[in-house]
């Protein structure tokens, strides 16, 4: 099993959109290493040829009649927003990302 490096954790934190300090990264590498070593045990189970299971219930698609139901008002939906402008969620710029 490949060892998880500090660079790996920094990359994963970037993917997960969590800014991390150097100290946090150092700590996380050690902790995740121990957890990964333990959960890697799943690979030793007799799983060859076993069908993966994503869900405990036999799921079928659920449809409902295409009828109009009352829904949240714009004001209610926006009530918890960090910033609102012209009855819309106001968000930081998305252009010129690094």
């Amino acid at each position: 099993m490949p060892e998880l490096t500090r660079a790996d954790v920094a990359h994963l934190a970037g993917l997960a959109r969590i800014a991390m300090t150097d100290d946090e990264l150092d700590r996380m590498v050690g902790e995740l290493g121990i957890i990964l070593e333990s959960v890697a045990k799943v690979q030793q189970a007799p799983i060859e040829g076993v069908e993966p299971m994503s869900h405990p219930l036999p799921l079928t698609n659920v449809n409902r009649p295409d009828a109009v139901h009352p829904s949240l008002s714009a004001a209610a939906a926006l009530a918890g927003a960090p910033e609102v402008d012209q009855q819309r969620f106001s968000v930081p710029r998305i252009l010129d990302e690094e």
Binding site: A19, L32, I35, V39, K41, E51, P56, A76, G80, A81
Partner: protein, 518 residues
Amino acid sequence: MTDLIRLTADEMADALAAKDISSLELTRAHLERIAAVDGGVHAFLHVDGEGALAAARTIDERRSAGEALPRLAGVPIGVKDVMATKGLPTTCGSKILQGWVPPYDATLVTRLRQSGLPILGKLNMDEFAMGSSTEHSAYGPTHNPWDLERIPGGSGGGSAACVGSYQAPLAIGTDTGGSIRQPAAVTGTVGTKPTYGGVSRFGLVALASSLDQAGPCTRTVLDAALLHEVIGGYDPMDSTSIDAPVPPVVEAARRADVSGMRIGIVRELTGEGFQAGVQKRFDEAVEHLVDAGAEVVEVSCPSFTYALAAYYLILPSEASSNLARFDAMRYGLRVWPSDDASAEQVMAATRAAGFGDEVKRRIILGTYALSSGYYDAYYGSAQKVRRLIYDDFASAFERADVLVSPTSPTTAFRFGEKMTDPMSMYLQDIATIPANLAGVPGMSVPSGLADEDGLPAGFQILAPATRDERLYAVGAALEQRLDAAWGGPLLDRAPTLASAFSGAMGSSYADARDGEGR
């Protein structure tokens, strides 16, 4: 402590129906209890006295008008802070949702309101339900009513401690890997995780969608059944909701009949790794069930030894995906690292500031387990183990009607004991996790106090999917016999907190609390 709050929910319902007491009186008594002891216990993150009293008044008026009301109408309840409550703060124990007030009710909360249960407030939990001690709550831990220096279990420690300290007769919990059952075990209370799909998840802030299930936290098995009946049943708003009537749980709890029932002891979930006193109380409980007419069989579920590993891949994977919604755009915290920061930078800064260590650990772990190149080795393998566990349950239930084990391997530990070693914390759920992976229902009932530390231990019952009533039959039969042997409920032996809290100890706890939380 007034005698009123020590009644069971069933007895309260009787007294309300007979108009011996009013809901206003009953709700007020619980609010007084909260004011008296919750400084020391810290079960509540938010108390809604005004809302609860208003709901109680309405129920009293409707009852006076001669209206036929649901069984639990007027009996107050506490709700875990993971359920959306319209007009009431919902934080999931996280800074990222501090101050958020949902614009809608979870289906389960709607059912509580429709059934006339006054909601006393929102209950503390490990952040986003990740943990076994409530030490991961951003608002400070809940304390175990049996010993305020110890953990009340988790993630639903607030729910268990709330009913265990008579701050409410009923509470709602959620169980993703044991978060209803393990807190019940270490606080000497009762908790049920219904069959997956038995209770709607609409409005429950998702941790791991294929594992999460809400259920009742109470002091007696019958009370759990009464609450189960209120919150259970089909909900078109949840695509995984089971379209079938709620199993006959109340009838089973009242009959408490286990004669001829085959009780399966799971070899992999007893003995080694379980505290001696916990194991001893478990063995005695099995004897009581035999006396009550049950038959004992030993079953083996070899794949259970891989359950913890599979769970700590599946849960973080689903959580890393579910928690992506906390992006600082539509609700919750928004942190600007600089004035001209981009959306991505705001997101990263917000999640850094808003999530605690355990949440970050699990998100990173899940991101890793799902990343290309590692998916098959980790998440894929875990899903195959999940199938093996499901199959193990299926064969075990051919030989036994229910399976039993100790709920948690130990009694309540001291604060800080497992915080530096995440794996040792994860082991708390070793016996409860298989049920979530397979979707089967489970319950924890008190089995007594462990000899070595005098703290409560729990007895876990598992039943086949949709046969939740069997939990109640076995739980009620055991409760009946143990209460008779003890000369009363186990909780009668817990410290009365009023005295414990009146001194300096209480104020130091109060100081340590987060002011915003209340």
